[in-house]
Symmetry: C2
Subunit: 192 residues, 2 copies
DNA sequence: TCCTGCTATGCAACTCGTTGCATAGACAAG
DNA sequence: CTTGTCTATGCAACGAGTTGCATAGCAGGA
């Protein structure tokens, strides 16, 4: 149920509507959590119902009203409690790794393009992260002494950057392996 | 729906019962996918029903019968089809990162022990991966020329090893940041 | 002897996350 | 003038994953 907590953190950093939250989840929060607007709206509704959030309807000219949420005291308390509970280290779900091992029962070479596509997606993500780092933390327009919240945002972003660099390097390793298997004996692993 | 595919890959590598699969998912498959026995039994039942798997009841002395599953031809075909479809690069769910950013609204120093605990869990996982690599791929008891399937298993394992090493290093960075924030101004970020 | 743990399977209820669809006004491009 | 895009919200149905519980025989230690 960490989506609730991710929302609380984001609303404490800055109040906003469901729509704005959804866009944050495509950007900075997206370094470590993803969610669609449907999930966000549903959870926001429940959290409001449970008294964790305060709502304020903001009329806007030229566009629909928006409901601006902010963390209420019980929400702050719920977050604080969760922060003090131990959590389990993450379990992984890595589709591409399933494919790589599955390639032994198909044609390893046919996976090369797919792996290259993923590597490109990770390169793009890395570029976005690095641009964000420059803009918010290390560039000339960044606030000079960062406060604690910004320091913590920065260290999380450094984690995203390290993750992408590691993945790109590993996919080089995967590609080299696939090329190597493609050369010596054409369909070597298929024992149907 | 990649659990189905992970099961197909595992059963192609070696047929086995639901129970055996559950244990594999705690070990080698666990490098890139996790599943509990309940999930596995439910999906095995559905896949058998769909004709993707063949079953053989194996009587055993001194313990309950087991149902040994193996991939049937339609299962192989379903896997092959999935291997040729593009998939989206993974989206992440990183609870600890939520906590780290949330620490700005609580006490950053109180997170240190939790982060250390996670780091130790990753060190343990890395040690298991390295032991498995030595046993199956690089040690004196490993098969001399690896076949394609083993090469692919090895490159996936190398990905797990790289992941753990990267995470351990990043958590050093996180710990240094938390210590730094703990020193100068005690509860610097809390603006309640 | 009792308790724990291992093999081995499974149901029921629940929460979480995804996908498809619907509404509705404003604005810009063709 | 129509189509598409952006803001902004939401429902319904489904699939995936979790948690708790149940059964049942055997082995080993306190």
């Amino acid at each position: 149920m960490a989506l609730e907590h991710a929302i609380l953190v984001s609303l404490l950093e800055k109040p906003g509507s469901g729509y704005e939250l959804a866009r944050r989840f495509e950007r900075s929060i997206g370094y470590f959590w993803t969610a669609t607007h449907q999930q966000i709206y549903r959870v926001l509704g429940r959290m409001e119902n449970d008294g964790l959030l305060a709502v304020r309807t903001v009329p806007q000219q030229g566009r629909p009203d928006k409901k601006e949420y902010s963390a209420a005291d019980p929400g702050r308390a719920a977050l604080a409690q969760w922060l003090h509970e131990p959590i389990e280290p993450e379990s992984l779900r890595h589709d591409l790794a399933v494919k790589i091992r599955g390639a032994a029962f198909d044609d390893p070479a046919s996976l090369i393009r797919e792996v290259e596509r993923h590597q490109q997606a990770h390169r793009d993500r890395l570029a976005r992260y690095l641009a964000g780092e420059l803009r918010d933390f290390t560039g000339p327009d960044a606030p000079a002494p960062l406060d604690a919240g910004q320091e913590l945002q920065h260290v999380v972003l450094r984690g995203g950057i390290a993750q992408e660099r590691m993945t790109i390097a590993w996919l080089d390793d995967v590609l080299a392996t696939l090329h190597r298997l493609g050369r010596p004996a054409p369909p070597a692993a298929d024992r149907a």
